[in-house]
Subunit: 556 residues, 2 copies
C-alpha cells in the first residue's frame, strides 16, 4: 500500500505554516513557514487604536509558498500521494465579500481599504458594538450570547461586522456577505463561486456568530435590525447550516492543483480555528483541558453530551456542539494576554538599552547594534534565572493579567492590569515573577470556572511556544493549578490537528478520535505540582481574585 | 564692627554638612560635607529587615572634619569671630546611654552592637511596638498620641526604645537614659556629664516622644508600664522639660574649642530636626508649607495660637508648640518616599544594564564599566525627557506612592505601592510619569489634610535635592496641587536654618523671625500651575484616593 499524505495548514497571527504529514502514522515529513508580507510591513494596522487588518493576498501568497516549499523538501512521489488538506486559522477573523464570495479588498477599488480586509481576531475597534450587543442580548427574549459564555466580545463576528458597516459607507454599499478566514480558504481551493455556497464552520459560527441549532441558526432578523437597521437583510444572505471540520468541502480545483503542485484528487476538509484544531492535534479528550500558550492563551475542552446536559457555562468563550471533535460539545476559554505580558515587561526594561546604550558615543555603530540586540534577547532568560531563586515566601507582589483586557472568565476588554504590593525592594526579577504568577492565576480562574460548572478536569495538556520554551513558567503554572501539566511533543500541534481533519475527510480514518490515536505524538515532558507551593499559591490566588483594577472608562 | 559668624551643622541620613555663615547677612562663607564612614561601608544595617543604625563615632568624626575643613576655606580671622553653633539632625534617631549620657556603643563592650547605636529615623524594626502603642493609646484615658497625629509610628522614640529593650538583654541591663541625636550633639560640645543635664529638644520630644505640657511631660509611668513592664522606672530618669532650639545650651568646652579650632566664646544652641530647621532656613511663616523634597518628604508649617486654638489635626506627624519657630505651633507631615520611588524604578530599569551589558563578552572591562555607569546615570533624564512629551490626556496609569509605607496622612507603614491601569502599551516613560504623579498625589493628600482642618495655605516653598534638580517633577507637583511653588535659593536650607538658630542663641538677632529676615536667601525659581492640567489631575486624584493596596500582613 502506498503511503498517504495530508497537508495541515496553520494560519497564525503573523505567519502560516504548512506541514506534510503521513496520514497513517502522523510522521511529519516536511514543513514550511512564511510570514505575511503586507502584515509584516505593518500595513493596514493602527496599534494605538487596536486596529489589526490582514489582506487576503497575504493569505494566498503564503499558501502557495509554504505548500510548494514543503513539498520540495519531500521525497519524490509525495505530492502525488497527498490525499487531503485542512486549514486552521485565527478567528473570529471575518471579511466582507461580494455576492461571489470574493473579499472586497480583492477588488481594485477596495485594495487598500482596511475595512474591506480581514479583521484579525485581536482587533478591538468594535468595543462599543460589543457593548451594544450585550445590552440587547440582556433584554431580548432569547439570549443569543448564551452559548458564547453570556458576554459577547469586540473580537467577534457581529461586533466587527457592525462596526465596519457603520464606519465605512463604501464597504456598506458593496458588502453582500461575510466570511471567516477559516471558511474562505477551503472555499477558494474548491472553486466556490457564490457566497451562498461557502461551507460554514461550526467552530467559527457557533463560538463567534451566535449561531445555534437551538434557535435555528443565526440570531433573528428582528434582533439584528434592533441592534442597527444597517444590518437589515444581511442574515438571509448568510447561512442556516454549519458543518464540523471533518466534513469534505470539495476537491482541489484544477487551477489550485496546478498552482500548488498537487492533484485534483486532494480532498479539502472544513476549516476551524487554530486552537481548536491544535487541541485535537495535542490529544484532547473528555476531562482534558488543552492550553495553547503563546502571546495569549486559548483553552479548549470537549465534554460528552451526558456531562453537559443543558448546562450553560457562564463567562467562557462558548460551548458548541462539534466545534472541536464531532460528537462532543467543544468548550473554549482563554486569556487575552499571557506571553504578551512578559514581552511587555521586556519592552519596559529595553528602554534604557535602546534609548541610552543605543545612542551612546562610547561605541561604534556595529558594536552598539550587536550589543543592543544581544542585551534585549537576554532579558527574559536573565529575569527567569533570578526569579527562580526567589523563595516563594517572598512572593508578596500581586499582579493581574489584564494588561490586554480579560477574555475569560467573564470577558471585560476594558479591564487594565495592576501590580500591587510594591516596595522599594521590588526588583525587576521580583516583578517578572509576579507577572508569571499573574498569568498562572488567570489560568486558574479559567480552570476553576469549568470545575465550578461540574466540567471535570483530570489532565492539563500545554502546547504553544511558551510551553516548550519556559520550564519556569510551566512549573509555576503547575504549582498554581495544583495539577500536573503535560507538554505536547509536537511543536506544530495546530497543523498536526488540521492534518488529522484532512485525514478523516479523505477517508484515511473514520473519525477524529481514530486519527488522534494513529497520528498523535505524545508528550515531551510533564510538570508536577509542588504541594507546598500550591498551598501558598492558593492563598495568593485569593488576593488575586480580590484585585479590581480600573477599566478604560473609569480611567479616562 | 567686626563680622560675626555662626556655624550651621546639618546631619542628614548619609552625611553631615557644616556651613559657616555671616550671622548678620546670611552670606554662606564656606561649607564642607563628609559622609559617615561606618555607615557608608554598610555597617550595622540590615536593609532586608529595615534595620538602620548609626555609630556615634561617625557623628563625632564628621563633626571635626567638616568644621575644620570649612574653617580652613575661610579668610583668616573667621574662626575667632564665630559666635554660635547649632545642629539639626535626622529624627527620631535615639540612642540608649549610660548615667553620664554617653551612648552605650561608645563603651568597648557595646562598640559593635547595633542596639547600642543610634536607631536612624528610617529604621522600621519597631513596627509591632508601634502597633501596641497605638492600641494602648486608643483605650487609655489620655490619648498620648493626640499631638502626634493620633497614629504613633515605628520610626519614633518610644517604639524604638521598647523594641531595643525587648530584643537586647545586655542593652536593657546597661541602659540608663535615652537621647535623640539632635540633643546629644549640643550636650557633648558643652560638656554635659550627667544624662539628666541633657537639654531636651522641644521639636524631638514633642513630635516623637509624646511629650506635651498638656499632660505634664512624657506619658505617665502607668501607661509605659502597661505597655511593657520593661519600661518601668525609665520615665523618671528621663526629663520633664523641653526647650526650643533658640535657647542657649551652653558654651563650647575647652576641649571642643581646641578640637574644632574655635574659642570657648562660641554659644551652642538647642538642637532640632533637619526639616524643621530647614523650613526656617527656607523662610517658613504662617500660611506657608515648606516641603523638604528628597528621597522622602518632610512638610512643615507654623500656625499661630489663634489659628490653632485647641484644634487637633489628625493623621499628621504632630503639632508642637515651638517645634519650628518659638511662639508658633509647628506642624509636621511628610511622605515616606518621594525621590526614593524614582530611584526604585531606576533600579528596576538598571537590571538589564548591570546583569547583561555589565557581563557581556563583546566589550572590554573598562568600556563596560564606563558604559554601565553612563547608562545608569542617564536613566532618569531619559525617562523625564520622554515623560514630558506624553499628553496629559494619556495619563491613564494610576499609582500610589506607598512603596515605603505611608507616613501621612494617616500613617500606615504596612501599606505597599500599587500601579494600575497597565496595558501592553505602558512604556517605561509612561510608568515613570505615573510614579511622578503618584508622589504629587501623595503631596496633595497632605496639603488637603491641612486645609480640611482650616490650616490656611497660601504659599508652597520647596527645598531639597529634587526641587532644584527636576523641573518636570516640580511642574507636575504644581499642576496637581493647583498652587504656585517657590523653590528656595539656598541649596543648604537646613544648615542655613541651623545658623539662624545659632545667631539667635548668640544674641545677634533677638528672635528667629528677625534672623529669617536678615539671613534669608529668597527663591531660585517659581512654578505656576496650569489650570487645565489641574482640572484633569483633580479627577485622576479622585481615583488615587480610591486605590487601596495590600498591607504586608495581608500579603504574607
Amino acid at each position: 500500500m502506498a503511503n498517504k499524505y495530508v497537508i495541515g495548514l496553520d494560519y497564525g497571527s503573523d505567519s502560516a505554516r504548512a506541514v506534510i504529514v503521513n496520514a497513517l502514522t502522523g510522521e511529519e515529513i516536511a514543513t514550511s513557514v512564511k510570514y505575511y508580507p503586507r502584515w509584516k510591513a505593518g500595513k493596514y494596522c493602527n496599534p494605538s487604536k487596536n486596529q489589526y487588518r490582514q489582506h487576503p493576498l497575504d493569505y494566498i501568497e503564503v499558501l502557495e509558498a509554504t505548500v510548494k516549499e514543503s513539498l520540495a523538501k519531500c521525497p519524490a512521489g509525495t505530492a502525488e500521494n497527498v490525499v487531503g488538506i485542512a486549514f486552521d486559522t485565527t478567528g473570529s477573523t471575518p471579511v466582507f465579500t461580494d455576492k461571489a464570495g470574493v473579499p472586497l479588498s480583492l477588488h481594485p477599488e477596495f485594495a487598500e481599504n482596511p475595512n474591506a480586509m480581514f479583521v484579525l481576531w485581536k482587533d478591538h475597534t468594535a468595543i462599543n458594538e460589543a457593548a451594544e450587543i450585550n445590552e440587547l442580548c440582556a433584554k431580548w427574549d432569547i439570549d443569543y450570547s448564551a452559548y458564547e459564555g453570556g458576554i459577547y466580545s469586540s473580537e467577534w463576528f457581529w461586533a466587527k461586522a457592525l462596526h465596519v458597516l457603520r464606519e465605512d459607507e463604501a464597504v456598506r454599499n458593496a458588502a453582500y456577505s461575510i466570511v471567516e478566514h477559516c471558511e474562505w480558504m477551503p472555499a477558494i481551493l474548491t472553486g466556490v463561486s457564490k457566497s451562498s455556497d461557502i461551507v460554514r464552520s461550526r467552530c467559527a459560527c457557533g463560538h463567534k456568530a451566535m449561531w445555534s441549532e437551538v434557535w435555528g441558526g443565526l440570531p433573528s432578523e428582528e434582533f439584528l435590525v434592533a441592534l442597527d437597521p444597517v444590518l437589515a437583510g444581511l442574515r438571509e444572505r448568510l447561512f442556516t447550516d454549519t458543518y464540523t471540520a471533518d466534513k469534505v468541502v470539495g476537491n482541489l480545483t484544477e487551477e489550485w492543483a496546478s498552482r500548488l503542485g498537487l492533484t485534483t484528487n486532494v480532498v479539502v476538509a472544513g476549516g476551524a480555528f487554530d486552537c481548536h484544531m491544535g487541541a485535537v492535534g495535542a490529544g484532547v479528550t473528555p476531562k482534558t483541558i488543552v492550553r495553547v500558550i503563546g502571546t495569549s492563551t486559548c483553552d479548549i475542552m470537549v465534554s460528552s453530551y451526558e456531562e453537559m446536559g443543558d448546562k450553560l457555562v457562564n463567562g467562557i468563550c462558548g460551548q458548541v456542539d462539534g466545534s472541536v471533535i464531532p460528537g462532543y460539545v467543544g468548550l473554549e476559554a482563554g486569556q487575552s494576554a499571557f506571553g504578551d505580558i512578559y514581552a511587555w515587561f521586556k519592552r519596559v526594561l529595553e528602554f534604557p538599552i535602546r534609548q541610552i546604550i543605543g545612542t551612546t558615543s562610547l561605541l561604534d555603530e556595529a558594536t552598539k547594534e550587536k550589543l543592543v540586540e544581544e542585551a534585549c534577547d537576554k532579558i527574559i532568560p536573565a529575569l527567569t534565572k533570578e526569579a527562580e531563586l526567589i523563595p516563594l515566601s517572598e512572593s508578596t507582589l500581586i499582579a493581574t493579567d489584564w494588561m490586554n483586557g480579560r477574555r475569560t472568565p467573564d470577558a471585560n476588554q476594558m479591564l487594565k492590569g495592576t501590580i500591587t504590593g510594591l516596595t522599594l525592594g521590588s526588583s525587576a526579577p521580583r516583578i517578572f515573577r509576579a507577572l508569571v504568577e499573574a498569568t498562572a492565576f488567570g489560568s486558574k480562574a479559567i480552570v476553576d470556572r469549568f470545575i465550578e460548572n461540574d466540567i471535570e478536569i483530570n489532565q492539563v495538556i500545554a502546547i504553544g511556544g511558551i510551553s516548550l520554551k519556559s520550564p519556569f513558567v510551566m512549573q509555576t503554572l503547575s504549582n498554581v493549578l495544583g495539577m500536573p501539566i503535560k507538554v505536547a511533543k509536537s511543536e506544530q500541534a495546530c497543523a498536526l490537528g488540521a492534518s488529522m481533519f484532512a485525514a478523516v475527510a479523505a477517508g484515511v480514518h473514520t473519525k477524529v478520535e481514530d486519527a488522534q490515536k494513529a497520528m498523535g505524538k505524545g508528550f515531551a515532558s510533564e510538570y508536577y505540582p509542588d504541594e507546598e507551593a500550591h498551598k501558598i499559591y492558593l492563598s495568593l490566588y485569593e488576593k488575586y481574585t480580590k484585585l479590581g483594577g480600573f477599566t478604560e472608562k473609569e480611567l479616562l
